[in-house]
């Protein structure tokens, strides 16, 4: 469909563009700025005066819960929630049931996502069979089916030897690994950051070293094997410094952080509210500040929702007995804009961390506005407000931000030039 978007302030962090101009879309692509191409007759016209047009957001971790956990969410519900949050491309982690370690599971996810059509889905395959960390999954077959990277989910490789070989194998075929670094032994039965709040409330702690010890090992193995690695879900200031150090030595590593880690700290656990039970855990204010700095400087190039929807029962138990995770992909843009509102980031930098940053981390065909690029856009009103929870598409209502008034409102999300969400 030929679409003309007029009057928008267009911000494209990848090219540094920030000005009011016309946008012309045709056959799912962005075909021109400013002037319509010869013979272009718009079938659809969007008045975007007063709105900002930016690349559709790219979210590196949205648990779709399908197959296997449809009581928590499904591909249609969670991708629609993503579209409402301004997301046009998302990666789903391999923790499905069965685990995303075979082409069949990847195909099922891709088929259902295409059928739903709310957002482009890029699966992250399991690095090892069953995420057990013992035997490699068929990485090349998974790549050929459409997996863009390979991860270990929330588990950590117990065997350094197996991990090292897995990295060498992945490096052979230039595959990207998405590595979550949390030492299972140091984590033990912990459920919260090992700090003042957990100590006061008698919750078993997860020390910062659970992250940094695992990160140190993983970085050394990345260096040895030369594999392309993306470190996901950093929680500590020290962890971010270790990534910065590795980058300064020329290692090909990137990193992301969960948006909620930039907004919340472990003090939120004071009332035992299970809504704040997440894995890896919320850490101290100092860690949050260190992560914000790393996002600002670009050491952490991607902010992801790390969306984990749950059914109500999963959160109705004493803290440690509840399932971890926050459902928040549909608030991704307004929640992230609160960082701009609070003066922590400027708008182009924030949009870079939500689009070009994540897409370049995993080499996705997304995250920029350029002639010939897919017409994946978000149009939002930065002056309007979003009341979190006023509408809700995700199956999981496990979101501590519900009820809050957040800055900005997504007006249109377009995927391949087609409106996937509007408000």
């Amino acid at each position: 469909m030929r679409t003309h978007i007029h009057g928008a302030r267009v911000i494209d962090p990848a090219s540094g563009m920030d000005r009011i101009c016309e946008l012309f879309l045709d056959a799912g692509k962005l075909v021109a700025f400013d002037q319509a191409p010869a013979g272009f007759v718009a079938e659809q016209s969007i008045d975007a005066s007063g709105l900002i047009a930016a690349p559709g957001l790219v979210d590196l971790s949205v648990a779709l819960r399908e197959p296997g956990y449809s009581r928590k969410g499904n591909i249609a519900s969670e991708t629609l929630a993503a579209a409402a949050g301004g997301v046009t491309s998302l990666c789903c982690p391999p923790e499905t049931k069965p685990v995303l370690d075979t082409p069949a599971v990847a195909e099922l996810i891709l088929d259902r996502a295409r059928e739903a059509g709310h957002a482009k889905v890029y699966p992250i395959g399991a690095f090892s069979k069953g995420l057990a960390g013992e035997q490699l999954a068929e990485l090349v077959a998974l790549r050929d089916t459409g997996c863009v990277a390979f991860g270990n989910g929330l588990t950590n490789f117990a065997s350094s030897r197996v991990l090292c070989r897995a990295m060498e194998y992945a490096a052979t075929f230039n595959l990207t690994l998405v590595i979550h670094s949390q030492d299972a032994d140091l984590t033990a039965d912990g459920h919260a950051h090992d700090g003042a709040t957990a100590s006061f409330r008698g919750l078993a702690g997860i020390p910062e070293t659970a992250e940094t010890v695992a990160l140190a090992r993983n970085l050394l193995l990345v260096e040895q094997t030369g594999v392309r690695a993306h470190f996901t879900q950093l929680t500590s200031a020290k962890g971010a410094k270790m990534i910065a150090h590795a980058q300064s030595r020329g290692l090909p590593v990137s990193a992301d952080v969960a948006l909620y880690q930039l907004l919340l700290t472990d003090e939120a656990l004071y009332d035992f509210s299970s809504l704040y039970h997440v894995q890896p855990p919320l850490r101290s204010a100092q860690d949050r500040d260190g992560l914000r700095e790393a996002v600002k400087s670009g050491v952490i190039q991607a902010i992801a929702s790390h969306h984990q929807p749950h059914e109500a029962d999963a959160k109705l138990a004493p803290f440690a007995a509840t399932e971890p995770g926050i459902s928040s992909v549909e608030l991704l843009l307004p929640l992230a804009l609160s960082l701009v509102q609070d003066g922590l980031l400027d708008l182009p930098t924030l949009l870079a961390r939500l689009s070009s940053g994540p897409s370049s981390a995993l080499h996705l065909p997304a995250g920029r506005l350029a002639v010939g690029a897919p017409a994946d856009l978000v149009l939002f009103d930065i002056e309007a407000k979003t009341v979190a929870g006023e509408q809700w598409f995700s199956r999981g209502r496990n979101c501590p931000f519900i009820g809050q008034q957040l800055p900005g409102k997504v007006r249109y999300t377009l995927v391949d030039g087609r409106i996937s969400y509007r408000s």
Binding site: G195, R201, L203, Y270, A317, P318
Partner: protein, 336 residues
């Protein structure tokens, strides 16, 4: 964050009276003193030939223990009986929980049997808060111990013991010795002592058994027992669980006793009239020498007696606070 000044309105009704008893945290000194005064008056009931008062007549108290207990469960049962309540006790660890029933469902089923009060012990920190907030806010919830978090009736019976033997808290030095990390008793005691104005609270343990940021309770930390015991008025010993030897927290019971066991000799470092307390059950020769446990300075068995009075006090106060709130809610509903 300053834990002791934070508000816990969950356990208070709109008039600031107790309606649940979940934690010492957030309770004002006046309320703690009221609990102690009320318990003092119940101690006389225990000394009478007829040991009953009718405060909870017609009420049903349900002890729900998801963790084993003998002393706490029995003293709660006795306390409820002396208040003339109907009492049932369920050891859930051996019944529905093992059939996969959730805590939520277990408690809702019991609520449907028209219980007026639950005494709950559970291995998860925050379990009593969870029940009071999300399961049955209209039923008075008494925390009988939740994970490592709190054991507030033990904390208050320890305060009653100290007050009856030492009078005022404002001049006291109190040492808590042993496994502070895993101890809900230690956490409740530190909070209660602070709230009641004790100026010198000491914790004594190796680093492996100290919680991180323990200073937030306003305590002084000692890793050397002989240093920490000097001139204290009260020594509270904690039980050392056998499973602490696994996982590298301690080398052996023998080494722990050598370094942190309370012997007659070490007790001499404390004031001559110092009292020795222990929440029980004691491990003779692990954290405490028999001669100290059975000695003249030991008040360990008094603690058990006071435990009944404290539990009577807390149960009667929470029930009356819960009733008052119900009346307030009714009045509010009629006005609308």
């Amino acid at each position: 964050m300053t834990p002791t000044t934070s508000k816990r309105p969950l356990q208070l009704n709109n008039q600031g009276q107790l309606r649940h008893f979940l934690s010492i945290d957030g309770l004002p000194r006046e309320l703690l003193t009221e609990i102690l005064d009320t318990a003092d008056s119940f101690l006389e009931v225990g000394a009478r030939a007829v040991k009953k008062v009718p405060l909870l007549r017609g009420k049903t108290v349900c002890n729900v223990f998801f963790e084993n207990s003998t002393r706490t469960r029995t003293t709660f049962e006795l306390a409820a009986q002396r208040l003339s309540a109907d009492v049932i006790t369920l050891n859930v660890s051996t019944s529905s929980a093992s059939k996969g029933e959730s805590l939520l469902d277990t408690m809702r089923n019991l609520e449907a049997m028209a219980a007026d009060m639950f005494v709950v012990r559970h291995s998860d920190s925050g379990a009593a808060h969870f029940i009071a907030e999300h399961v049955c806010p209209e039923v008075a919830i008494i925390n009988g111990g939740d994970g490592r978090h709190a054991h507030p009736t033990q904390g208050m019976l320890d305060m009653l013991t100290i007050r009856r033997h030492k009078g005022d808290f404002s001049q006291l030095s109190v040492a808590i010795v042993g496994d502070i990390l895993h101890s809900r008793v230690a956490r409740s005691n530190m909070l209660a002592l602070k709230a009641l104005g004790c100026p010198d609270i000491r914790v004594i343990a190796p680093k492996t058994l100290l919680p991180v940021c323990v200073e937030q309770y306003g305590v002084r930390v000692f890793t050397d027992l002989t240093e920490g015991l000097k001139n204290v008025d009260v020594v509270i010993m904690l039980r050392l669980q056998k499973e602490r030897m696994a996982g590298g927290l301690l080398p052996s019971e023998g080494e722990f006793y050598r370094l942190y066991g309370l012997t007659r000799q070490r007790l001499q470092l404390a004031k001559p009239d110092a009292i020795v307390m222990h929440p029980g059950p004691i491990n003779r020769g692990v954290e405490i020498e028999s001669a100290v446990a059975d000695g003249a300075q030991s008040v360990i068995l008094n603690q058990v007696t006071y435990g009944i009075a404290i539990r009577m006090a807390v149960m009667s106060m929470a029930m009356s606070g819960q009733n008052a709130q119900r009346l307030l809610n009714l009045e509010a509903a009629e006005q609308n």
